[in-house]
Amino acid sequence: MLWILLTLLFLGTLGYVLGRQRALASAGGDRRVLHSLPNYYGLNVTLLTLVPALLVLGLWLIIQPIAVERSVAAQIPAGYMESVENPTLLMTEVRRLAGGIDDAIDRGFLSPEEAANLASDTDIRAQLAGAGVALGSDVSEEVLVAAQSFRALNATGSTMMLIVVFLLAFAGLAYAYARTHKDLRARNRVEYAVLAILMGASTLAILTTVGIVLSMLWDTRNFFQLYPWQDFFFGLEWRPSFEGDSDLGLIPLLWGTLYISFIALLVAVPIGLFAAIYMAEYASRRVRSVAKPLIEVLAGIPTIVYGLFALITVGPLLRDYFAQPLGLGDSSSSVMTAGIVMGIMLIPFVSSLSDDIINSVPQSLRDGSYGLGATQSETVKQVILPAALPGIVGAVLLAASRAIGETMIVVLGAGAAARLDLNPFEAMTTVTVKIVGQLTGDTDFSSPEALVAFALGLTLFVITLGLNIFALYIVRKYREQYE
């Protein structure tokens, strides 16, 4: 594999040198006559050499295993297929045996001829074990045949791939070299290639999102085939049990998520916003240069560390000084603990974004207000905050998205008990914690207890998507009015 890439790279470099020379030669050595800089002619040849060859190489590497597996599976006699316990494992066995034989040849334990003549009545398992390849079970005749055909198909496939890829590379090189001439618009062509790379990058990002949603959708669909959707969306109980007959109601988890996020925002928004106003409007340059990075340190602390802080400091503190004296409970894990600590985590998000937004309000508005005899705080309240409002709303909604998706702080701060309760000193839990809970340990991905994780994930995704759309709407609406 590596040598293919190296050879292609060499061809590309060769193309660069040749293309550059040819362009210069066609201009009689005078680079001012060329349409583009000489480098662009070289790059143009390199691109035409490498890009088609690499694209085909990549596609081939994806398609070949699938095609080979299909055709080998079709060769296995249907009768044998039915006789094995688990037909899906059969192909794994075939692949493993084929790989084992190849390994044995690579290490010199088997000559290629010996490998071709392996017979199922000899103890292949022992032979391969001697070569350092461990097989799970004895090899049957059918599996051996399939494995040999698997190897053969793969070998021809690889050879053909080599031929096609190198043919393409040479063709590209020859074509581009022949086209290289002083009037060729090499610069525009290379820039077009750059454009294609940029477009590819953005498309990839979008496609990934689509892929994530589709994979979630698929498993969510499976879940709803096993569990009624009414019980999921409107169920007031969360009581999964792996013996079946679970209650998988979303409401208690959603309630926990929203309750904890609400408290977190209640902490983060005022503190963050006030800090931002102080930083942007009142603080001297010296204070600002020290305090702003210090606040932003908060954003760099891993959430698990916040979780520890919640577990060993904030939780017991709240329990001993608030919950127990007020008779509201005696659990150190509580909505309040997780909410407050998460709020602290969100302060830098709100303050840093709001600070930037407040700073971008034009100085002329401040001057106008001061010029009318307004004080600094009147200016902030009546001119700067209204002008910065759309951006601040965006910052808050971004913080809300973070809060809804947060897991570690909740696990350590609020516990894992799903509960519908108004008391903020009770332990509750969130959607994210339960997703982790349902997917850790031994899970059977065909049971509703595991698949519910995907339905929960999709629900979270939809909620944050809704928040983001709402944020965009707010920002647009106010922008129209204010600019």
Binding site: D367, G368, Y370, L372, P386
Partner: protein, 270 residues
């Protein structure tokens, strides 16, 4: 005809200016960090007169304008020395609240800067802050009077709740003037109020300035010598932080005593 008219006015104002000096500066220096931006400037601003500050870019005319309502206080590195009085009272005295001062000495800026609020709220901003109205109808009166004074009422009376930022550039600048007038200032400072406007809007604002003179004393910084000649009765010429010459506008433009003034108005420096 207009020229002779202005001539008459100037002579009339000269008589008034002698006994009613609104603002007076003596030995004013301004420093931005290490830069000495204004050097020992003495100026008398007469009541009910338009005083123009002219001079090449960077000569300190805007800086000096900002001395008159202490807008320089909002700049950290700026330091002002010397004495400036408003009706005999030192405005840099520690007892004076700069915020109160700015209500008396209003300011209009180079670029129209309406707040992101409705037209009504823009004009009502100052009166609300300073508690100038007894009730809602009182406030509406102030807003209407200010907009009329800024010659904008007829254009916006049907859309007072529309955003001020939606007006045209000239309308925005007149809105800013209305906003400044609404706090009933005694002096109105204008920092190149027409430099961002087209000729028609400029003519409207200039006409407005001439009218405002009946109520306030107006100080205008301008790059345009024609504008200074058209709207002002007194002109101060600044150069490199010095006040070179300060006299009747007619004298400055027809018979300047300093060779630098003559060079500037004939276009040799600037």
């Amino acid at each position: 005809m207009e020229g002779s008219n202005m001539n008459d006015m100037s002579q009339f104002d000269q008589g008034v200016a002698v006994d009613t000096i609104k603002m007076q500066s003596r030995g004013v220096n301004v420093f931005y960090g290490d830069t000495h931006a204004i050097k020992d400037v003495d100026v008398d601003i007469a009541d009910k007169t338009v005083t123009a500050f002219i001079g090449p870019s960077g000569c300190g005319k805007s800086t000096f304008l900002r001395v008159l309502n202490r807008m320089n206080d909002t700049i950290d590195i700026c330091r002002v020395t010397g004495k400036t009085t408003l009706e005999g009272e030192d405005i840099y005295d520690p007892k004076v609240d700069p915020v109160q001062l700015r209500a008396k000495v209003g300011m209009v800026f180079q670029k129209p800067n309406p707040f992101p609020k409705s037209i009504f709220d823009n004009v009502a901003y100052g009166p609300r802050i300073h508690g100038l109205s007894q009730n809602k109808s009182d406030l509406e009166d102030i807003v209407e009077k200010s907009l009329r004074r800024a010659a904008l009422w007829d254009e916006v009376k049907d859309r007072l709740q529309a955003p001020g930022t939606g007006l045209s550039g000239g309308q925005q600048q007149r809105l800013c003037i209305a906003r400044a007038v609404a706090t009933s200032p005694e002096v109105l400072l204008m920092d190149e109020p027409c430099s961002a406007l087209d000729p028609i809007a400029t003519a409207q604002v200039e006409e407005l300035i001439d009218e405002l003179r009946t109520q306030y004393s107006v100080v205008i910084v301008t790059h345009s010598m024609q504008q200074a000649a058209r709207v002002s009765q007194k002109t101060a010429f600044f150069h490199l932080g010095n006040l070179v010459e300060f006299d009747e506008t007619d004298t400055i433009f027809t018979n300047p005593s300093d060779p630098r003034t003559e060079s500037y108005i004939t276009g040799r420096i600037g």
